[in-house]
């Protein structure tokens, strides 16, 4: 174990192997010293990272352990950079179907997709979410060490497995507050041969919402549905989009060349009812969806929220929230199910309005992925839970991390 206790702010332990990690956690349990768990630190802006806590880095617990393309599974140590996994997969024409966003880009404008462990711990997914699911849906097996200092495993290396509780789901999106993952197994899938995007320009929000609902209700297996307001289209690096000068309602079709062509032909007829249809071919289409997947941070001084809502309710949410509460144009993804919202930084009233608006439209969840100001902590970065659900969350925390060693307060003050 390398430790650099030189200064309080640089107080970090770097685990070289599972044994190191176990020792470190056990020591922290014994000494009652909380840890702040990190991979490559790309998601440090999400939730409350307590800078006074000792950092525990998993960066060195890295490497693909086993990848069997024919079994559609990949096992890697938790600190493996996602870039390494992406390149291993793409050499076999495979992929993580849930399209992980690059939070490096979102947070700082510099690409860095982080580690596989960090991705699973935050459960962040991209545009394909509404058809392919999130990391949770592809997370097959895990080895880890709980806040009790005990190594354990759950799940397995096969897709169909109901042996015991689905502990992978419990750890997906738990932000390192229950256990530190050391090795993970994920399901991988063939990458589509090609893709095409169809765009209709100039639709207003209500029309766009109806259109997205309608297009994704066809049997043509649409795997992306987004709405970019004017300012966002202007900033796009895809020429077909940046020249528009108005909003863009976009859908994506992926699959074999034959299939994509035939579906695009059918869909173009549907879309033509709403306006002129612009077709964006494979390469540009891929760039466009990469932009949608990982939106740029935008103006430095606003809070960037990621809000999951019932797909038919995003306009209702924006209306309830009020135009004046929003700093910049929102980005709509997941065929309406996801909003990237830029809200005034640290404006408690706006935040409260967002939470109550979600309740009013029939449910949702929100995560502050990039605060505009660095100062104010702790801040409320996750939408509140219903009372009973919160109690259950707390009891799970108590059972897995009774001494509150692992990322305490990262998600909620008592979790």
């Amino acid at each position: 174990m390398q430790t650099f206790p030189d200064s309080d702010s640089d107080n970090i332990s770097i685990a070289r192997d599972e044994k190191d990690l176990e020792d470190c956690i056990r020591r922290s349990v014994a000494e009652d010293t909380p840890l702040s768990i990190e991979g490559l630190g790309t998601k440090r802006a999400i939730g409350n990272v307590n800078t006074e806590h000792r950092r525990l880095s998993l960066e060195k617990l890295s490497g693909i352990v086993d990848y069997e393309p024919n079994e559609l599974v990949l096992t890697a140590r938790a600190g493996t950079p996602l870039s390494e996994i992406h390149s291993a997969l793409s050499s076999e024409q495979q992929q993580l179907a849930f399209e992980p966003p690059d939070m490096g880009l979102v947070i700082s404008g510099n690409p860095n997709p982080g580690t596989i462990g960090g991705l699973l711990a935050t459960n962040l997914s991209g545009p394909r979410r509404f058809v392919a699911g999130a990391p949770r849906d592809h997370f097959l097996g895990v080895k880890g060490i709980s806040g009790r200092g005990e190594p354990f495993k759950a799940g397995g290396r096969v897709v169909k497995n109901v042996t015991g509780y689905d502990m992978c789901k419990l750890l997906a999106g738990s932000y390192g507050t229950l256990a530190v993952m050391t090795e993970v197994t994920v399901k991988v899938l063939p990458a589509p041969e090609t893709s095409v995007s169809l765009v209709v320009a100039g639709l207003d929000q209500k029309t766009a919402q109806k259109a997205l609902t309608q297009w994704t209700s066809t049997p043509y297996a649409i795997s992306g549905g987004a709405y970019l307001l004017e300012r966002l289209t202007a900033n796009s690096s895809v020429p077909e989009i940046s020249v528009l000068d108005q909003s863009a309602t976009i859908i994506r079709i992926e699959g074999t060349a034959v299939s994509v062509k035939s579906r695009a032909d059918f869909l173009k007829q549907d879309l033509a009812l709403s306006g002129n249809v612009i077709e964006i071919e494979d390469g540009a289409s891929t760039s466009l969806w990469a932009e949608i997947c990982s939106p740029q941070p935008g103006p430095g001084d606003c809070d960037l929220w990621r809000v999951s809502v019932p797909p038919s309710k995003w306009v209702h949410l924006l209306e309830t929230l009020g135009r004046e509460s929003i700093e910049d144009d929102p980005l709509v993804d997941w065929a309406g199910g996801l909003l990237w919202l830029r809200l005034p930084t640290d404006a408690e009233m706006v935040r409260e309005r967002l939470f109550s608006a979600m309740e009013e439209i029939g449910g949702g969840s929100a995560v502050l992925v990039r605060p505009g100001s660095k100062e104010r902590t702790p801040r409320q970065s996750f939408s509140p839970l219903f009372a009973g659900v919160h109690t259950l969350n707390r009891r799970l925390k108590e059972n897995f991390d009774p001494k509150r060693i692992l990322n305490p307060g990262r998600m909620y003050p008592d979790i």
Binding site: N70, D137, V158, K160, T163, P190, S308, G388
Partner: protein
């Protein structure tokens, strides 16, 4: 019946049956929904795993969330065990009653609450059947994807509890990938909503934990499921092979070609013959393995992939290949597979259906080892197999009237499941642990692994009143599990008594 150790029965409670029935009647609008007389209780004495039978202490059939809440709170206050039940088709004994436990039947929760096409979901009560959901949205061209063979009977609540699969899970996922929200009542009577019509929920993934929790964490009183648009078209290929190896290789090649069929099923010779004798599906009899590969989606894509798959089959030496030309033919291909269980039921007085998962590449060696075991135990076995995702369903043929044969079949079955784990697979792919595989759990998990699972239980049901005796081979007290033993470096619960 073979021996099964269940939690100690609280005899004092049994003596209070009439009194407790009276109390329960005061909590429920319809007094006939509490059943205490013997005949009525006998109806519920087993589920789909009929080798085990136990009439429940009492049966209670609530019809609203508030009734469920009141009953559970009563049970919690009086320390009474509860076993939830849907349609009772569990093949792992998940709904097996307890002599001193209330059987909470969810059959009256049989209404669909809301159909929301805009958000592509259905909100339903848990007692609605799996097929009932698809039927309710069929007119608009939608369906609910997970399709267990038991779908005309099994309930969505049971599906949630077992994380049920089906032949189309390869492409569309298991129950867990198709559930958006739940209303759950905890043992203390608290009602909570988890998830909803949005995709990502806040906090820990309680939805993911509830699905597959086998009725041990809470009672599901409402379910929001995702519905899908029906594919434009579907076609199936029926491919025969001279050896299981060749069929296994063909499956691997299809996946390697980047094709994820909607379903990819395999049957071995005994299963093919039993099915063909029963329904005359037109299966070839002179093959060792038969694949049914179904493709669905846009017509152009399906036609394209059918050609690719026939080509792959040919290079792998398929002895016969047919691709369905119309819906009637496609359904005929499936008829044999769908009737495989009853078909095997005709050639043997009894059969025992196993459910392990293995890595696909292990298929041929596992079939070979199974044939050896069959020889060793002197019992025949027929195999149907979700080949696409490595989920095996060996059917062990036996005769319960021959003394000792059930026990032999169970031993054989346990050996198969241990083999699955040995080759890198798992004990159960879709039927659940229940009582059936409970005692095999230590073959897959260490004490510490299991203790962590049980800590989930402790968060939801610290007194262990919901469905005890299922899933875990040993019942630990939550207080014991809560202790930290980090200084000794080892977890000492080996000395704890079994229940």
């Amino acid at each position: 019946m073979s021996q099964l150790k269940m939690p100690d029965v609280d005899e004092t409670l049994i003596a209070r049956r009439a009194e407790i029935a009276r109390d329960l009647r005061s909590l429920i609008a319809d007094p006939e929904s509490v059943i205490d007389e013997e005949h009525g209780r006998l109806v519920y004495d087993s589920d789909g795993l009929t080798a085990y039978r136990q009439p429940p202490f009492l049966v209670c059939l609530p019809s609203s969330t508030s009734e469920v809440s009141a009953v559970l709170r009563y049970c919690s206050d009086h320390n009474i065990k509860v076993v939830p039940r849907g349609a009772g088709t569990s093949l792992s004994g998940g709904a097996l009653p307890l002599a001193d436990g209330i059987l909470l039947g969810m059959a009256k929760f049989n209404k669909i609450v809301e159909i929301d096409f805009d958000n592509k979901c259905v909100v339903t009560q848990p007692g609605v059947t799996n097929l009932g959901i698809s039927k309710a949205v069929d007119h608009a061209g939608y369906y609910y994807a997970p399709d267990p063979s038991s779908q005309i009977a099994c309930t969505i609540g049971g599906n949630v509890a077992e994380n049920s699969g089906g032949v189309h899970c390869l492409k569309y996922g298991l129950t867990t990938n198709n559930i958006l929200g739940l209303e759950v009542v905890l043992i203390n009577g608290d009602v909570m909503r988890i998830g909803g019509k949005h995709l990502d929920a806040a906090g820990y993934d309680l939805l993911g934990v509830m699905v597959g929790s086998e009725g041990l964490l809470g009672v599901v009183t409402e379910v929001t499921v995702r519905i899908l648009r029906k594919p434009e078209t579907a076609r199936a290929a029926l491919i025969g092979f001279g050896s299981a190896d060749a069929a296994g290789d063909c499956v691997a090649d299809i996946i390697a070609a980047g094709i994820i069929p909607a379903g990819m099923e395999m049957m071995d010779r005994p299963a093919i013959h039993a099915a063909e004798d029963f329904v005359c599906a037109g299966y070839p009899r002179d093959v060792e393995a038969l694949l049914i590969v179904e493709l669905d989606g846009p017509a152009a894509e399906v036609d394209d992939l059918c050609t690719k798959i026939t080509e792959i089959a040919r290079t792998r030496g398929a002895t016969s290949t047919r691709v369905s030309e119309n819906e009637e033919e496609r359904l005929a291909f499936w008829a044999g597979r769908k009737a495989a269980f009853p078909a095997v039921g005709r050639i043997s007085p009894d059969y025992y259906c196993m459910d392990g998962t293995i890595p696909r590449a292990q298929l041929a060696p596992v079939l070979k080892r199974m044939a050896e075991m069959s020889e060793h135990y002197g019992l025949r076995v027929a195999n149907v197999f979700h080949a696409g995702d490595g989920n095996l369903h060996p059917l062990i043929l036996y005769d319960a009237n021959v003394p000792g044969q059930l026990e032999t079949a169970e031993e054989f079955g346990a050996d198969i499941l241990k083999l699955c784990v040995e080759v890198g697979g798992v004990l159960t792919g879709e039927h659940g642990v229940g009582v059936e595989k409970r005692d095999l759990m230590p073959h897959m998990f260490t004490e510490t692994d299991l203790a962590h699972q049980q800590r989930v239980k402790c968060a939801f049901d610290p007194e262990g009143l919901l469905n005890p005796g299922k899933m875990f081979p040993t019942l630990h007290r939550c207080a014991e599990l809560g202790r930290l033993h980090v200084h000794q470096g080892k977890l000492p619960h080996a000395d704890l008594p079994r229940f």
